[in-house]
Structures are given as C-alpha cells and as structure tokens.
C-alpha cells in the first residue's frame, strides 16, 4: 500500500452523520472518530462506524476529542475487532484542508483525517493522510 492509499469509503448514512454532527456542533468545531479495519497499522479505508464526540475545547478554531467519548469509541471498536482509524473535524469558516495545527497534532500516521468545511452554503468533506508533516489527499467514495 502506498502512502496515497486508501480510498475512504463511507455509507450515505455515515456521511449524513458526520455532516450532521458538524452543523450540530456550531458555533464550535465538531469532531468525531472513525472505526474500521487496519492493514499493517494503516486504515484500510472501509469504515464500520462513525462516532461523533464532544469537542472538549469548546472552540470555533480548535478541537480536542473528549477523552471519555474516545474511550467509548475505542471499546466499541475493540468489541467489533476493529480499530479507531481516523478522526473528522469541522472548519467553521475555512477550507476543508489541514491547518498547521492539524498537521502538527496529527495523532497517528496510519489514520485518515477528514475535514468538513462549513464555510460555504454546501458542506465540503475531504479526507487526507498526514505523516511526517506531509499531507496527501485521498479519494472519498459514498456507497451503499
């Protein structure tokens, strides 16, 4: 698998949950965790669950995934034989592109980083891998 892989595959329901959580989180940035299988410590792209989490920072410019929500999601993942494979968060007024803060604080090089911009009338969801300070956009497919 190359660094540019995989393709993020979301169901329409998962996409709706992610987008909905971003609007529900306003005026703050919203965040949540993606669950799924990993292959050799890298997200496969298949997503088996999406878990909206509280933004413990309660800020319109930064987010921190609430620890208890992360713990709950980790337990669900473990029970299913999956992992936490990524995180989404919203940018309330800027592009759906990783900020310098996002790059600096990227928790796991094997994760997928989803950013939803609410800047325009329609939400924009894009996904990336972030590793060693480098950003590569990955394809997103809605299926099922």
């Amino acid at each position: 698998m190359t660094f540019a892989d995989p393709t993020l595959r979301l169901t329409r329901q998962q996409y709706a949950t992610i987008i909905g959580s971003c609007y529900d989180g306003l005026p703050y940035e919203a965040c949540g965790l993606l669950l799924g299988p990993m292959i050799d410590a890298v997200a496969s792209g298949m997503i088996t669950g999406v878990h909206p989490c509280r933004n413990a920072a309660e800020s319109a410019v930064v987010y921190t995934v609430d620890g208890r929500d992360y713990l709950r999601a980790a337990r669900v993942a473990e029970a299913r034989g999956d992992e936490i494979v990524g995180v989404w968060h919203s940018h309330t007024h800027t592009d759906a592109y990783p900020s310098a803060t996002d790059v600096r604080q990227a928790a796991d090089p094997g994760w997928l980083y989803v950013i939803v911009s609410l800047r325009d009338e329609a939400p924009m969801l894009r996904a990336y891998r972030i590793r060693d300070g480098g950003i590569v956009e990955i394809a997103v497919v809605l299926d099922r």
Binding site: C31, S59, V65, G67, D108
Partner: protein
C-alpha cells in the same frame, strides 16, 4: 497485581506490535516503569522529561481518567485495565 494495559495503534510498533500487555504493579507509575523497561521506545510517548504523565496521552483505569484519580500514583488492583489513548486534537 496483574494489570492489562491496552495500547493505541500508534504505540504498538514500539511494543512489538502488541495491542495489549500484562504487567504486574501496585500503581500506574510502577506498571509504566516496567512497561518502559520492557519496551524503552514507549518512554517518550508516555512520560514527559520530568517523568510525569505526557500531556498528549490520556490514561484510563477502567472508566476513570487517572488525572482525576492520583495520576501515576493511582493504585491498581488485580484485574484492573489501563487504556492508553493519545490526545486527539487540532484546529
């Protein structure tokens, strides 16, 4: 006290790929010391330069964040489970 320590994916490479490790210890600090002795690569991820809990890691004893208990001095009992999770943040 035999305690199971669950590791997040980002730290498993430094623990021979294991998702969980069983360690004996009476406190979180004691268990971490033994964990680091076994897997020295974990030290920089778990502890800060002063030997305190790293600010970018959260540790739960069962359902409780140890920062709200006694930190690294939190006492452990047989069968307790420690879950280590990285802080996930950005902007």
């Amino acid at each position: 006290m035999a305690v199971e320590i669950k590791l997040p994916t980002v730290l498993r490479a430094q623990a021979d790929g294991q998702s969980s490790v069983m360690i004996d210890g009476a406190t979180v600090g004691e268990v971490f010391a033994k964990l680091i002795e076994q897997y020295p690569g974990l030290r920089g991820n778990l502890l800060d330069d002063g030997g305190g809990l790293h600010k970018f890691v959260n540790v739960y004893k069962d359902d409780d964040d140890i920062r709200y208990l006694d930190g690294l001095d939190t006492k452990l009992g047989d069968g307790d489970e420690l879950t280590i999770l990285p802080a996930v943040a950005g902007g």
